[in-house]
């Protein structure tokens, strides 16, 4: 109901039409400019290695070729790592959202005792960290190294997401929750039956933030997991892309196996498309006016 309301909130005056027109034109230009390089990546991945080797800004493959993708799929390494990534991202994000919601809700209650010190302590961890090696000892001490849990548990809550989600929760009017409490819900019930359903845009957003950060992680996988069968796809992507460029942390040796550019781009496409699909899928949760519309309605 609220969505229809949003459509009728403006009159079709000339001024409004001009406003809309200009807005659409500007947004179209922005969309094109941002997506162009990705089209380049996509185009190169479908170009024959010979043409791509010559360089230039390709937006459409002159000589179409699937050889890069054939190479990628000729072993199961990338496919396997993609499955690992999907697994870690799905389960990891579920854990993230559960723990973050559980913690954010009490912290959104201004009357809760101990709330402020906890928030300050959380904020503090955004600024100061003990560093790689002490964290490694904790992770390894808990027996998480060499398991996929090492990619999910040590980053189960992001302080940033927690604080911002807490802020979103705070904006839900208390009246609604109170009426649920009167109906006999515990605080846990209120969170799951009232607060979370009302905050779906925020939950979808943070779900995506978490999913993307899981998807993009390669460093922790290299540090915590020795078994290459358990590496997510970003480790391989990173390896292939990094090797090709003048390398960060180069030790001065030339003999790295530089893959043809087409393969590099194909790997980028392969490793990026799955996570790109998440957002359009979540967009239905971003419909306007859901929260307060239903509060009043």
């Amino acid at each position: 109901m609220s969505r229809e309301q949003s459509y009728v909130r403006v009159d079709n005056t000339l001024g409004n039409k001009l406003f809309d027109g200009a807005n659409i034109i500007v947004l179209t230009i922005i969309a094109l400019v941002t997506v162009l390089p990705f089209i380049y990546i996509l185009a190169v991945s479908f170009t024959s290695p010979e043409e791509a080797a010559k360089g230039g800004f390709i937006l459409f493959p002159k000589s179409f070729s699937l050889s890069a993708y054939q190479y990628i799929f000729s072993t199961d390494t990338l496919m396997r790592s993609l499955l690992v990534s999907i697994y870690v991202t799905t389960l990891g994000t579920a854990i993230n959202l559960l723990l973050t919601c559980l913690m954010a809700y009490p912290l959104a209650k201004q009357t809760l005792r101990g709330r402020q010190p906890i928030l300050m302590a959380v904020l503090f961890t955004m600024l100061f960290s003990g560093g790689l090696i002490p964290t490694y000892f904790v992770v390894s001490g808990m027996g998480l190294t060499n398991t996929l849990w090492s990619l999910m548990i040590p980053n189960a809550i992001s302080a940033f997401n927690l604080i911002v989600l807490k802020n979103f929760f705070q904006q839900i009017p208390d009246g609604l929750e109170d009426s649920a409490r009167i109906d006999g819900c515990t605080d846990v019930g209120v969170l799951f039956r009232i607060v979370i359903p009302l905050s779906m845009p925020a939950i979808a957003t943070f779900g995506m933030f978490y999913a993307v950060s899981h998807w993009n992680q390669f460093f922790s996988a290299i540090i915590y997991i020795n078994d290459s069968d358990k590496w997510p796809v970003q480790v391989l992507l990173r390896e292939i892309v990094i090797l090709a460029q003048s390398r960060i942390g180069d030790t001065g040796f030339d003999e790295t196996a530089i893959q043809p550019q087409t393969i590099r781009m194909a790997v980028i496409v392969f490793a990026t498309i799955p996570i790109l699909l998440v957002y359009p899928f979540l967009q239905k949760h971003f419909a306007k006016g859901v929260m307060l519309g239903s509060v009043k309605g």
């Binding site: 396997r80 090696i133 290299i222 090709a244 030339d254």
Partner: protein, 517 residues
Amino acid sequence: MKSKPIQPFASNSKRWVNLICSGVLTLGLAAGCAGTGEKAGSSGNTGEKAGTDKPYKLSIALRQVGDIPAKGNEVEQAIEKYTNTELAIQWIPQAAFDDKINVMIASNELPQILKVNYVPNVMNAARNGLFWELGPYLKDYPNLTAQDQRYYDNIKIDGKLFGIPNYRDIGRAAVVYRKDWFDQAGLSLPVTMDDWYNVMKAFSENDPDGNGKQDSYGTMLFKNYNAGTQPVITRLAVSIGGVNRWGEEDGKFTPEFKTQPYMDVLQLFRKLYADKLINQDFAVYDVTELDKAMYDGRVGMRLNVSAQNVQGYSTAMKDTIPSAEWDIAPFAGPDGPRIAGEPGNFGFLAIPKSAVKDEAELKRVLTFLDKLMDEPMSTLQMRGIEGKHYELVDGTKTKYTDFALFQREVKPYRDGLLNIEGYNVPELEDTPIALKGTKMARENIQYAVPNPALTLNSPTYNERGVELDLIIRDAETKYIMGQIDDAGFQAEVDKWAKAGGDAVVKEYESSFVELGG
């Protein structure tokens, strides 16, 4: 890995992860083995019977280069069988190699064989007794002893040997050039700085690729053109009688940028830049872009590569530009060939004391390393498995039958373990130019000028070496681009001296004396 076995899967969901992973893996292995079953066993592993001795469990951590080999693949099995070991190889991606090594050192989760680079943290670790000193043991291992002493000297730390280098040719620096361009222009390879200028001028102005556009260059510079172990300026300076990074005379050390040949080369490039005979954006030009220009037929010479690279360029351009003919020659000046010697390794294999407890075990590990250079193992690493990656021609020579497959399945071992072309490996049947490249890289060690400061100890350099190098690298570029003049360059050198350069010189000199000159 040895010290941290895979955690037992406690909960159900963990088991699930395991199941998925092993499921996928099993599928992969099944697929991988299906095609090879018929030919397995013909790999010529006649060396040692896996006799009564139980296989020795050996964990190795190597740097990942290219593809990750599947576990328990044929190459690994062949190594295990020949050396009577049970291998657990851990591949460490380049993207976080040094971090991972640090974590492994800090947590003492070290394998019996650890691939490391010659970098300050490893040197500190070695100095503090983390690795076995191998110098006294080397003589008992015929293959390891057979290698040129310089390979070992170049990875010594305070004069002691803490590992076995992944051998690479010391004298592999070469000019890789378009012979067809030179022939067509009636030019010969440049020797003096004037020659270089003329060749560069001809190649950029006379349209050697004949496309009617002035879009070619004699050679191109790129970001970091003088960093690392294949530096363009230093290589040219050495060819006309200069020093390889550092000069040493009667125990006195001089950095290259205080020598005349080096300044001559810089002036050459300064002139080339001013006359637009070299790419004007070289300071932001990535070397991969240079590759593209080269494959597009717009580059006449490569100065930052190895003699062996000539083969790759020839094959890659065979179809796109059939007229392209590549050739190689050592860097040479008026006094003949003079080459900036490279360190001769791709990192080294260290043996941590925490994983290898006693001398007996150390000897077992060294035996393994030595065996890797026996003929069957050398052949395996450099040629692959007979019938799968290569075949025998005329009974003695070898020929790759599936080089792409070799690259995927064998190259990781070739790059990470111990082998060197020309030692205990049958000759390769290949194109003449490829054979010339291999031979030149190997034989030109005779022309190699070493860097006398390579293994000297300088605490100042350890602490701020990158910073000091950067002062000079930046000054080089600014000088070539005409942003600073000779006085400006001198000012940067003075800055270098003050920022620690003078201290480095002194420390090298005393370290030189300590190590017996």
